[in-house]
Symmetry: C2
Subunit: 323 residues, 2 copies
């Protein structure tokens, strides 16, 4: 097979700025979450934000960059516009070693998506996404032979937000399954789960082998009121359910039971943007290499520790060197 | 007066990537320097570079952002294109607290300038600048009343590279002098000095009160073969000559003699991009507040120490808090 992993996601350039908690309060932003904003809201918020750093992002795209950095063979599908930020996104993912051939949208349409990320002094990130050209992603971007040619198809829950991406996601998952491949899904965000709970459950039941979530997301999906109850409820829903718990590490749930894997040490947590994405990168890299769930989670923890030690959601060192 | 400082410079967005020394050798790049490249060279080099971080730059623009961060009142003049990177530049400098009203060039022309910066493991930066819309800067962008309304006009030597910017620089210096204001100039880069030595000398003789240079640049200007000989030769050429020497600190040369000021301590030097720009920011802030040359250099050292402790050439903390 040509690829270990093929990813499908919203192709986004992040704009990160350091803000204090007062900024979030004044703007009415829910700390730690991801809110969808339109072009006007994006322009208004950007105007108020401090000086930014632009770094390519997008949840599954970050994971793909991480898998490549670990030495995996990766392909990515996502829609940018043929504009300057689209060039930035395409450059960054290709130069990270990820295949990226999805045609960009014409410059006359919506611009490349951007996510305005406010990083507070506690290293928490609050995300505000203008989907832009991501709404152009549709089933015509899914070429089934590409999904047959990768061991794992990795999808992000955020894809439920742009309407036609749902069809693209289903087509991709079906192509992978028809070819006997594995499908992994990240729940992405608890508010996103809340918006699309039924669709999430249907997709998981039909296709998903490996499910990634954090505590809030798994609680949102199962509608339970504690982590323990949610973890019990989710068991068996997918072959493997991997729940990340920040500094508390991760829990892997399979038919055999639960294992806890500690987080990797970090000297200073600077920006938690991409922590879950890089955890998934490490996990999926191990999974593609037939490692045990515990070893997969250990690689995930190492990759996550690197990305939270600096600004931006893509690795700054060759992750392979950390293994 | 409305402003402490008005700056005039090439308005550039930096694209930073981490590369090893082998990359510089393979590409034939002179480590630590600034090379001018055209659009095709920029595209070819960008393709080879690793994943980037986009951060607004431009030498005098960085200084202006630093002066604002110290609490000074600042205005900036430079040309971007009305494209996405131009919006990024305008947002970042305005949100740093700097006035910026220069009209952008039409999107049909050259795009916003970018500087491809390779940062090596020793934290040295090697810069490759595609001037883009900077070549549109001309005397029509200089409104003499704005230069009369600032205590100090600050110019960068890099402005000699785009042809019409030379006329803009002379018009700005003359407007400042006619109004009885001070003029400061950075020599910018030793290769730039080599390209335009006569013009530099003529401008300094006619207008410059405060001259900033590093060791290589002052040697290139004076055509001497040691720092000591160059420092002697430059004395009296401007009221104040400030020479930065990296970790060795700085030397201030006035008619009264020379003083040495130590560098400020830095825990880890990550990226030296902007070190000279932020030193100048601190110095000029002190100068606008009528501090002694030694105190000005001490503020410069503090500002430089902050900017070399992270990626990118603009401050990430409110510099005023460091004073």
């Amino acid at each position: 097979m040509k690829y270990d992993v093929i990813g499908l996601g919203n192709a986004i350039v992040d704009v990160l700025s350091l803000e204090d908690d007062g900024f979030l309060e004044r703007e009415g932003l829910a700390k730690g979450g991801m809110a969808l904003i339109d072009a006007d809201q994006a322009a208004a918020l950007y105007k108020k934000m401090g000086p930014g750093q632009e770094v390519s992002g997008g949840s599954v795209a970050n994971s793909c960059a991480g898998i490549a950095s670990l030495g995996g063979r990766v392909n990515y599908v996502g829609r940018v516009c043929a504009d300057q930020l689209g060039e930035v996104f395409a450059h960054d993912i290709r130069s990270a070693g990820v295949g990226f051939d999805c045609l960009p949208s014409a410059p006359s349409g919506a611009p490349t998506a951007r996510c305005l990320i406010l990083v507070t002094p506690d290293a928490q990130r609050t995300m505000n996404t203008f989907l832009g050209a991501c709404v152009d992603l549709g089933p015509e971007d899914i070429h089934p032979e590409e999904f047959a040619d990768a061991k794992i198809t990795y999808l992000e829950g955020y894809l439920w937000d742009p309407p036609r991406a749902k069809q693209a996601m289903e087509k991709a998952a079906k192509a992978a399954k028809d070819a006997g491949r594995k499908v992994a899904l990240s729940l992405s965000d608890s508010f996103c789960v809340g918006r699309h709970r039924e669709s999430f459950n249907a997709l998981i039941d039909s296709y998903v082998d490996v499910l990634f979530a954090n505590e809030d997301e798994i609680i949102a999906l199962t509608e339970k009121d504690s982590f323990e109850a949610a973890a019990s409820a989710i068991q068996g829903k997918a072959d493997t359910v991997v729940i990340t718990r920040g500094a508390k590490g991760s829990v892997v749930i399979t038919s055999k039971g639960q294992s806890s894997i500690p987080a990797a040490p970090v000297e200073e947590v600077v920006d938690t943007t991409g922590a879950g994405d890089l955890f998934a990168a490490g996990y999926l890299y191990g999974y593609a290499k037939d490692q045990t769930p515990e070893e997969c989670a250990r690689i995930g923890a190492l990759a996550a520790a690197e990305v939270i030690s600096h600004f931006g959601a893509r690795p700054q060192v060759k992750l392979q060197s950390l293994l």
